[in-house]
């Protein structure tokens, strides 16, 4: 029989929206699980006093879904886009107020996700190729589209290719996303050699496998001649992070291990060796179908650093970027080499984020030969996903943007913006450094000493993520640490904290709420996330101010509540009267809900008003917070991640408030 069904199934490949079968769901799955961020840091207005976003005008009909951005020696900025074009922007700085001019240098390339300029040619990664583009006849347009290196690819939608990044020896590093399984649509797999890898390619096209364990390596950077990479939450990836990568490193995702038996593979670890140490949870149900692994709250699981003793090739993140807090989909990594033209953060790193449409600032230091450091919220409010950044020759930062079907906090599809320092000094934690017995915070401005010496103004919490085949991980093993002593520097620029209970490899969240500068201004961003891979040796602190004996440790933990089962209809009664937005707002912020949801507007996820229209019970909403059902919202590209860490009482309040939005 000929039926319409047969025909439509052909189109299913293309149109991801209405897929019923699990097999097809890999299409509606994920590159990132967008969830969140915290409006705790939502201080756009305040940020704007120090860093302003200038949106470049773009002609109607010109869609700049930016996948690559670079500068030319003359300061012009060039963009590479998903539509396959390379644009050179003259007058990108709009000096004198006149508009930039966009010259189309090349076109027809396959969803470009990187761009550099080298010796008069552009180099960009297309889906299946590293390509060199040259204007030989001088008309401002490429006439040579040269294949530098043809890259194997199967044609799966998720097989994006990123780069290149230029290395000091003139070679270029390109990274490749994994595909996903057919039945196991949640499991990243490498269908062709070097998917899930970084590869190094010479000018004459020689390919050398470099490192693997990557899942969605959109985050790339060349920092001081070294290759850096960032990934985001996903299977085997608890949270986003950045890491410096050397040849032969294994970054944690098993897919690329399929090719480690190849003679030129610098990684020797096999899939079997890894799976002998950690269960990939390839289990089947009674009908013989694979079961999607989910987080098991009651199981401690394993942490990535614990694998290191068995797997020496494993490279740990230099700095975790806590999922939902700082970002959800790590992108470009660049270093501030503006010598102050961009503000007080020279030498630090900036990391973009497609879903959160923000920038994170990272201070790195090397302890025992390993990178680690602190990540700080820096700037949000970009119009679209911040995928690629480059510093212009005046020290301002150009940000190439797109959300290309994944949704982003910035509501525009695509564009290019410029971030300019206003010249005013923001009051920020400039650096956080590890010390043998705690941390030392350096501020950008001298502090009000009374506030900086007050123990009540600090809180340190440490936590970590599980290493598991599950999509992401909740934050686990949380501890609030006792700050036993502190010492201010005479110039008021530094405070050193003596901290009890430091744990190596854990993320240490340092809040300095209440610390003010000499002008009595609070910190622009009051939180830092320090990944403590190593506690340095050295001198311990002396002559510090001890913590007052009767002062309790700050711990904004949430009170335990008696758990009711989500299906318990009586759960409704717990909240007699629906809370107001003002009442739930702190909860929505704290649990990073507002990163993806707004009250009456679609963002990454549906508006709360639209959730209310579904007519779920409060208990059902609570259960959906813990175990979201993305299939209920096929119009939304990005899955909500399970949020088991939201306490039941908070979830119920949020649910009651959502339902109060019903008209």
């Amino acid at each position: 029989m000929v039926s319409v069904k047969n025909c439509s199934s052909l189109n299913l490949k293309i149109y991801s929206k209405f897929l019923k079968s699990k097999k097809m769901k890999n299409i509606i799955k994920i590159f990132i699980s967008l969830l969140t961020f915290s409006s705790v840091f939502a201080q756009n207005a305040a940020e704007n006093d120090y860093y302003r976003i200038i949106t470049l005008p773009v002609a109607e009909g010109m869609l700049l879904e930016v996948g690559g951005i670079t500068t030319l020696p003359n300061g012009d900025v060039a963009l590479a886009t998903r539509r396959g074009d390379i644009w050179v922007i003259n007058n990108a700085y709009m000096n004198g107020g006149s508009a930039p001019y966009y010259r189309k240098f090349a076109s027809g390339l396959h969803e470009i996700l990187g761009l550099i300029y080298k010796n008069g040619s552009f180099y960009c990664a297309q889906r299946g190729e590293l390509t060199k583009l040259t204007d030989k006849n001088g008309d401002g347009k490429a006439d040579s589209y040269e294949t530098v290196c043809n890259l194997p690819i199967s044609g799966h939608y998720h097989e994006y290719t990123f780069g290149p990044k230029l290395m000091p020896d003139g070679s270029m590093i390109v990274t490749g996303n994994v595909a996903f399984g057919d039945e196991e649509w949640w499991r990243g797999e490498s269908r062709r050699p070097w998917r899930g890898w970084a590869v190094k390619i010479t000018e004459d096209g020689k390919l050398e496998p470099y490192a693997t364990g990557m899942r969605s390596p959109c985050g790339i950077g060349a920092i001081d001649g070294e290759f850096w990479y960032g990934d985001n939450q996903g299977d085997w990836m608890g949270s986003g992070f950045i890491a410096q990568v050397n040849k032969g490193d294994f970054m944690g995702h098993p897919a690329g291990l399929r090719w480690t038996g190849e003679p030129n593979s610098p990684v020797k670890l096999t899939t079997e060796q890894l799976y002998a140490k950690i269960d990939p949870r390839k289990t089947k149900d009674a009908n013989g179908y694979y079961i999607k692994p989910e987080n098991i709250e009651s199981e401690r699981g394993k942490y990535l650093f614990e694998m290191k003793k068995d797997i020496p090739e494993l490279k740990l993140p230099a700095v975790w970027l806590p999922h939902g807090v700082l970002g959800i989909s790590t992108s470009e990594i660049i270093k501030d080499e503006t010598n102050g033209a961009f503000g007080p953060f020279t030498g630090q790193l900036f990391v973009g984020d497609e879903g959160k449409s923000n920038l994170t600032r990272v201070f790195i230091e090397k302890i025992n030969g390993q990178y680690q450091g602190a990540a700080f919220p820096f700037k949000e409010g970009f119009q679209s996903g911040t995928l690629r950044m480059v510093f212009g020759n005046d020290g301002s930062m150009f940000v190439g943007e797109t959300n290309r079907g994944w949704g982003s906090a910035g509501t525009t599809t695509a564009g290019v913006e410029r971030l300019v320092w206003t010249g005013k000094m923001p009051f920020e934690m400039k650096t956080v450094k590890a010390t043998p017995d705690g941390f030392e915070v350096e501020f950008t401005k001298p502090v009000n000493k009374a506030t900086a010496a007050d123990f009540k103004n600090y809180q340190i919490r440490s936590f970590i993520y599980k290493y598991q085949p599950v999509y992401g991980s909740p934050t686990v093993d949380e501890k609030f640490l006792n700050i036993k002593g502190l010492k201010l520097s005479d110039d008021g620029l530094k405070v050193r904290l003596l901290v009890d209970g430091l744990r190596e490899h854990y993320i240490h969240e340092l809040k300095a709420d209440g610390v003010k500068d000499i002008d009595n201004k609070t910190l622009l961003h009051n939180t830092a996330y320090y990944t403590l891979n190593n506690i340095p040796s050295g001198e311990k602190m002396t002559n510090y101010t001890p913590r007052p004996a009767n002062l309790k440790v700050n711990a904004t933990a949430t009170a335990e509540v008696k758990l009711t089962t989500p299906d318990d209809v009586s759960a409704k009664k717990v909240v007699a009267k629906a809370p107001t937005f003002e009442e739930v707002k702190p909860l929505l912020q704290k649990h990073t809900c507002l990163a993806c949801h707004q009250v009456d507007k679609r963002q990454v996820g549906p508006a709360y008003k639209d959730v209310a229209k579904r007519g779920y019970s409060d208990a059902k909403i609570v259960s959906l917070i813990y175990k979201p059902q993305p299939k209920n919202w096929p119009e939304y590209a990005t899955e909500m991640a399970p949020m088991p860490q939201v306490p039941q009482a908070d979830a119920l309040k949020i649910a009651a408030w959502i339902n109060s939005l019903k008209k």
Partner: protein, 607 residues
């Protein structure tokens, strides 16, 4: 959600009726036709010529209906009429035009679908191939006598002497009992060389040159025979009466709640109920968590086998004539299911439940019936089966310069789906386009019409692929070049000496593809002719490679015409070698046209 279903229904639904056999118009002799003059005959093969006006030579045999008529010798008596008379009709056939020739298929002898040698025309008019010919009013002043001719959406005409295919779906005019016309004749669709060129077009009356200047329920099929040489074969049709199935005394009840089975629904009482003429989910006055139950009779015009197709978002269950027709089953919006059942004539019992519990699904409900003689028709209000809005497509058209785009490209190879991952498509203002596989140096498809539909790649996340928007001729995706130690060795894959080098653009923006192979440096350039009738391909090698061969074509049949053209496949396209010494060889049951490549081979693909 489900944005593309309407599109699917349109594109797939046309010929997606149940598999009732088509009838074949026998072409063993002329017995299927009214007596006719000698210009029409049955032959075994025909050969035409792309350069010579009205050329068509034949060999005796059967299976092909051919008309031989000198251009300029007109007369309606030269037209061929079938004995078969038809009202509603689906017809499909192959035809071949001689150069400069003109013919037509007159539905009911009255409504002409134009056949014409429109090869290479940029803008097709109503009087080009596939046009619905104009009507004519002698009383109007000169210059405005002709009216309401409808041009095809695009011109996909092939060269003279190539077999072309047309599928026409026609709905006859309807008359009341007094013989007064109550609805116009309608072209439901025409698909020419696999491209939809008309859809749902009403024809207000007979077109110019109608057999009789009136409109009727039944009339013969008529092939025009007085404007030049033309051939037909594989004429297949389905003829429908105008009967339909209809409900009588159809009652509905609406239930509110979250149901899994009919038993759940029957536990409660309907909130509202009433009578309706056709199925409509909207009587529920709810978007979700409802059920509608229909009970009534279906009037079956004649006893026989009937096929029912249902589309819905959510669950349905249906009984006809006391038998379970559709079990409880869940469908996504836009999906369908189908069953066939024997029914007696007269009123039979009908019962259907439709319910929905998934908030994200768009409600929809449709039911279609058809039989061997009854065309597929809806038993629901049209809007009840519509779901959401189709995606606005992202189309890439070729303007002044060639448009080049890399994407994944899906093809069929030996009946299997294959995704070509290093594909480059080139669109030309001449409206002929091609896709090249950088992994094989293979020109694997050419087409005429629109350039690319890039929606699959650029809408939402996309899947990295695009699709041609025209009438495609699939060529081989195998490597163009091989080193053959002996010219009888079979064609193989490329070895590791193959290395793609990309492409360079000339001053007109035309790409030349480059690669290294077997120690040689290969360049491969494919350019359209200005008249949009052919591609010229120039393959050159630098460096010395011994025993290097190019395979220009592979097909079941390759024949050489007296004029030196190669006819490839079942008259699918012509190949003309300008520079090179090709030979036809037989290999693995296929014909191959191969030529040694020492410096340069140049050839054209004419289609």
């Amino acid at each position: 959600m489900t944005k593309n279903f309407i599109k699917n229904l349109i594109f797939c639904g046309l010929w997606a009726s149940a598999a009732y056999a088509q009838q074949t118009l026998p072409l063993n002799d002329m017995s299927a036709f009214r007596p006719i003059k000698e210009n029409w005959s049955i032959v075994g093969s025909v050969v035409s010529n792309i350069d010579q006006l009205n050329a068509m030579t034949t060999e005796s045999g059967s299976g092909i209906l051919v008309c031989k008529n000198e251009i300029g010798k007109y007369g309606i008596e030269k037209d061929l009429l079938t004995l078969m008379e038809h009202g509603d009709l689906d017809i499909e056939l192959d035809f071949m035009m001689a150069k400069g020739s003109n013919s037509g298929i007159y539905l009911q002898g009255r409504y002409e679908i134009q056949l014409f040698d429109s090869w290479g025309k940029k803008m097709a008019k109503y009087n080009d191939l596939g046009g619905i010919y104009e009507r004519w009013d002698e009383s109007k002043p000169e210059g405005s006598k002709g009216y309401e001719g409808i041009a095809p959406r695009i011109n996909v005409a092939k060269a003279p002497g190539l077999w072309q295919n047309i599928k026409i779906s026609f709905q006859a005019p309807r008359f009341d009992t007094n013989g007064k016309k109550i609805s116009n004749a309608k072209i439901l669709s025409i698909i020419l060389n696999n491209i939809l060129i008309h859809e749902n077009v009403e024809i207000t009356g007979p077109t110019r040159g109608a057999l009789v200047d009136n409109e009727v329920s039944q009339g013969p099929l008529r092939f025009q025979g007085d404007h030049g040489n033309v051939a037909f074969r594989n004429i297949k049709y389905k003829s429908f009466n105008q009967k339909t199935l209809a409900f009588s005394d159809l009652k509905f009840g609406v239930y509110k709640g979250n149901f899994r089975t009919v038993a759940d629904i029957e536990k409660i009482k309907p909130e509202t109920s009433g009578n309706v003429a056709l199925l409509n989910w909207n009587v529920s006055n709810a978007e979700n968590e409802f059920a509608v139950k229909y009970v009534g009779k279906i009037k079956v015009p004649v006893a026989g086998k009937y096929t029912f197709t249902t589309v819905h978002g959510g669950n349905s269950q249906m009984k006809i004539n006391g038998q379970e027709a559709f079990k409880n089953g869940w469908l996504n919006s836009g999906e369908d299911r189908q069953m066939t059942i024997d029914l007696p004539a007269g009123d039979v019992d009908f019962e259907m439940y439709y319910w929905k519990a998934d908030g994200w699904l768009q409600p929809s409900l449709g039911l279609y019936a058809e039989s061997e003689t009854i065309r597929k028709h809806a038993l629901h209000y049209a809007n009840s089966a519509l779901v959401a809005n189709p995606t606005s497509p992202i189309l890439l058209t070729s303007a002044i310069e060639p448009v080049i785009l890399r994407s994944f490209m899906d093809i069929k190879e030996d009946g299997k789906a294959k995704r070509i991952v290093h594909a480059v498509s080139v669109g030309n203002k001449e409206n002929i386009h091609f896709t090249y596989d950088l992994d094989n140096g293979a020109l694997f498809q050419i087409w005429k019409g629109g350039f690319l539909n890039t929606t699959p790649m650029w809408n939402d996340r996309g899947d990295g692929s695009s699709k041609p928007m025209g009438s495609v001729i699939s060529l081989s995706d195998s490597p163009l070049l091989n080193v053959l130690a002996s010219p009888t060795n079979s064609w193989g894959n490329l070895d590791e000496s193959y290395r793609p080098r990309g492409y360079e653009l000339d001053e007109n923006g035309q790409p030349t593809f480059k690669y290294d192979f077997a120690g040689g440096f290969i360049s491969d350039k494919i350019t359209p002719s200005e008249d949009g009738k052919l591609f010229k391909r120039e393959i050159a090698v630098k460096g010395s490679v011994t025993n290097l061969y190019a395979r220009l074509a592979v097909a079941k049949n390759i024949t050489k015409t007296p004029e030196g053209l190669y006819i490839i496949g079942d008259n699918a396209y012509y190949l003309k070698v300008i520079e090179g010494t090709p030979s036809i060889r037989e290999s693995n049951g296929q014909k191959e046209l191969i030529a040694p490549l020492s410096e340069k081979i140049t050839y054209s693909i004419i289609f």
